[in-house]
C-alpha cells in the first residue's frame, strides 16, 4: 500500500468567522499502480485532499501514511516524499520560470541534489515521456504553445521520478484535441512506468475512458468510491451533488425505459455503441426468423 489516509479532517481558518471544514473524517486507501479519477465540483475538497497526499498541507486531525510511515511525523523527509508523490497543480504552465525548457525540467531533480548527469538524463527522459520534441529543448518555455507549456510543466514533475503522480485538472482550458493528447499521454505513462496516477477532474466524461477507480467528493467527504461502472449507477445522486455521469449513461437508461433492453452500465461511447449494436442485431435476427 502506498498512500493511506486515516480519519483525516482539515479545517480552514480555525477559530475565525471564516472557519470551514474542508475535509471531513476521510479514510482512503490508495494502493500502488491504480489509475484513479478524483471527481468533485469546486469547493468539494478535492484540491485540499491532494495537497495532503504530498505533505503540502497537514491534517487538522487524522494521519496520512506513505508506505506505512506517518508523513507528518517529526523527522519525516518531506523533500523525498514530494519526489515520490509528484503533484502537478492546475495550470502548471504558470510555474515555468527558467530560460530554457530543459533547464526548467531539471529544476526538480536538481533540488533532490542528484548528480548532474542523472539530472540531465531524467530531464531528457521526462520530456520524451510527455512527447516534447528535441528541437524545443533549448527554446524558452514562454515561446511554446499552451499545450506544449503544460506538457513541459508536467515533465518537470515527472523528472523527479514519482511513484504516484497527481494531476489537478490537467486539461483545464485546453481544446478537445489538446485534452485527448494529454490524457492519452498520461495513460501511456501510467501503463509503461506502472506508477499510480490520480487524475483530478470535474468531468466524468473525460476520465471514464481512462481510470479504473473513481472517487467522488462532495462537501469535504467521499460520496462514492469504486469502479466507474459502479459509481455511475448512482447517476441520480451524482446529479443532485452537481455532477453528472457521462451522457451515454443517461441515454442507456432512457432507452431501457423505452423498452429497448440494453445494459445500462456503458460509460463510454464505444461501449454504448457495442451494446446498442448487439441489441439491433438481435432484433433483426429475430425478425428474419
Amino acid at each position: 500500500m502506498a498512500l493511506l489516509l486515516d480519519k483525516v479532517s482539515y479545517i480552514y481558518g480555525g477559530g475565525t468567522a471564516y472557519e470551514k471544514q474542508a475535509l471531513k473524517n476521510i479514510t482512503l486507501d490508495i494502493p500502488d499502480g491504480q489509475f484513479i479519477g478524483l471527481i468533485g465540483h469546486t469547493g468539494s475538497g478535492k484540491s485540499t485532499l491532494i495537497q495532503h497526499l504530498n505533505g503540502l498541507m497537514k491534517p487538522t486531525s487524522g494521519t496520512v501514511y506513505f508506505n506505512g510511515a506517518d508523513m507528518n511525523a517529526e523527522g519525516f523527509q518531506k523533500k523525498e516524499l514530494r519526489s515520490k508523490v509528484g503533484l502537478v497543480f492546475q495550470y502548471p504552465e504558470h510555474q515555468l520560470f527558467e530560460t530554457t525548457v530543459l533547464k526548467d525540467v531539471q529544476f526538480g531533480p536538481k533540488n533532490l541534489n542528484l548528480p548532474q548527469l542523472e539530472v540531465e538524463l531524467r530531464a531528457y527522459d521526462a520530456l520524451k515521456m510527455v512527447g516534447i520534441s528535441e528541437d524545443l529543448y533549448d527554446a524558452s518555455p514562454f515561446e511554446l504553445s499552451g499545450g506544449q507549456k503544460r506538457r513541459v510543466a508536467i515533465a518537470g514533475v515527472l523528472a523527479m521520478k514519482p511513484d504516484v503522480l497527481i494531476l489537478d485538472e490537467p486539461t483545464a482550458g485546453l481544446d478537445p484535441m489538446g485534452r485527448d493528447e494529454i490524457l492519452d499521454q498520461i495513460e501511456k505513462i501510467h501503463k509503461e512506468r506502472k506508477i499510480t496516477v490520480i487524475l483530478v477532474s470535474h468531468s466524468m466524461e473525460d476520465v471514464a475512458k481512462y481510470v479504473d477507480r473513481i472517487i467522488v467528493m462532495n462537501k469535504g467527504g467521499i460520496a462514492f468510491d469504486g469502479a466507474p461502472k459502479k459509481v455511475f449507477t448512482h447517476y441520480k445522486e451524482l446529479e443532485q451533488i452537481g455532477l453528472a455521469a457521462p451522457s451515454v449513461t443517461y441515454v442507456m437508461h432512457d432507452l431501457n425505459q423505452m423498452r429497448i433492453p440494453v445494459a445500462t452500465d456503458a460509460t463510454t461511447v464505444e461501449e454504448a455503441k457495442q451494446e446498442i449494436l448487439d441489441w439491433w442485431r438481435n432484433v433483426r435476427e429475430r425478425i428474419i426468423r
Binding site: T16, A17, Q51, N54, L56, K79, R82, S83, G86, L87, V88, F89, P92, H94, Q95, L96, F97, F107, G108, N111, L112, F142, G156, V157, M160
Partner: protein, 270 residues
C-alpha cells in the same frame, strides 16, 4: 500564511464609517497620522487609542480582523522597537549585558515608538477596511483635483492605485499557489543562508511577474472594451457629496485634534 495579509482589504459591514464620504476618511486619516507626532505623553496615546478604538467599534469591523493585519509588519515593528530599546542613550541604566545596555529613556522611547507604529498602521488600515478602492480613487481624485491645473494626471494615478488594491488579494493567492507548486518540485524556501534563500525566490518571482504582466494586459484590454478612455467625459455612479453625517465627522475630528493639543499642553508628562 500569505493569505493573512489583510492590509488594503475592504471589509463590508455597512456601518456609518463605511457610508462616510471618502474625502472625510482620507482627511481624517491624514489628520490622525499627523496628530501622532503632536504629542509625547501617555495621555496623548490614551486619547489617540480611545479615539481609534471608538472608530473601530463604529466601523463594525472585528478588532481581531484588523489586528491580524499587524502580522505582516511584525518584523518591521520588532526591528524598530529593538533599535530604539538598545540604541537610545540615557542616564538611567536599567540592564547591561556586555556592550548592550537598556536605559529607562530607551525603554520609554521603544514602547512609545511601538505604540505609535501600531496605532498608525491600525488607523490607516481601517481606512482601507471601510472604503472601497473605487471610493478611495474618487476621494483622492477630488481632493487632489486642483493638481490637474499643473497637468498632473490625477485621475490616472488614482485609477492605478485602485486597480492595484483590487489585485493584491489575487496576486497573493497566486504567490501562494506558485510557492506550493515549486515546493512540490522540491524547492526549499526555509533553509540555507540569505543568498541561498534569495536565490530560491527566483522560481517564485519570475512566474509571478509573468502572471502580473499577463493580467495587466488582459485588464487593459477589458477596460478598453468597456470604453475606458481616461477621466475625460466620465460620469460617476456614486458622485461625492458631503452629507450631514460627514459634517458630524468633521466635528468629531476637530474635537479630537483639540483634545490631543489640550492633553499635550495641560497634562504632565509620564
Amino acid at each position: 500564511m500569505i493569505r493573512d495579509i489583510t492590509i488594503g482589504q475592504y471589509y463590508p459591514s455597512g456601518s456609518i464609517i463605511h457610508r462616510l464620504d471618502p474625502r472625510i476618511k482620507l482627511i481624517g486619516t491624514i489628520v490622525y497620522i499627523v496628530s501622532m507626532f503632536l504629542f509625547d505623553t501617555f495621555w496623548g496615546y490614551l486619547v489617540t487609542g480611545l479615539f481609534l478604538f471608538g472608530i473601530i467599534k463604529a466601523s463594525k469591523v472585528p478588532l481581531k480582523y484588523i489586528v491580524k493585519g499587524l502580522k505582516s509588519v511584525i518584523i518591521l515593528l520588532l526591528f524598530t522597537v529593538s533599535f530604539n530599546l538598545f540604541l537610545t542613550p540615557g542616564e538611567h541604566e536599567l540592564v547591561r549585558i556586555g556592550f548592550i545596555k537598556i536605559t529607562a529613556e530607551g525603554l520609554r522611547f521603544a514602547v512609545y515608538m511601538g505604540l505609535r507604529l501600531v496605532l498608525l498602521i491600525l488607523g490607516s488600515s481601517l481606512m482601507t477596511f471601510t472604503t472601497t478602492p473605487n471610493e478611495l480613487t474618487d476621494g483622492i481624485e477630488r481632493l487632489l483635483g486642483f493638481l490637474k491645473v499643473i497637468h498632473v494626471p490625477v485621475h490616472e494615478v488614482a485609477m492605478m492605485m485602485s486597480i492595484a488594491l483590487r489585485f493584491i488579494p489575487i496576486l497573493l493567492e497566486e504567490t501562494d499557489k506558485i510557492m506550493k507548486a515549486q515546493q512540490a518540485r522540491g524547492a526549499d524556501f526555509e533553509t540555507g543562508n540569505l543568498i541561498r534563500r534569495a536565490k530560491a525566490m527566483v522560481p517564485i518571482l519570475v512566474p509571478l511577474f509573468i502572471s502580473a504582466f499577463r493580467r495587466a494586459g488582459d485588464l487593459a484590454m477589458a477596460m478598453e472594451a468597456r470604453c475606458y478612455r481616461g477621466g475625460k467625459g466620465r460620469t460617476k455612479m456614486k458622485p461625492l457629496k458631503y452629507k450631514g453625517k460627514d459634517m458630524m465627522a468633521f466635528c468629531v475630528l476637530a474635537v479630537y485634534i483639540l483634545a490631543i493639543l489640550g492633553v499635550d499642553r495641560y497634562f504632565p508628562m509620564i
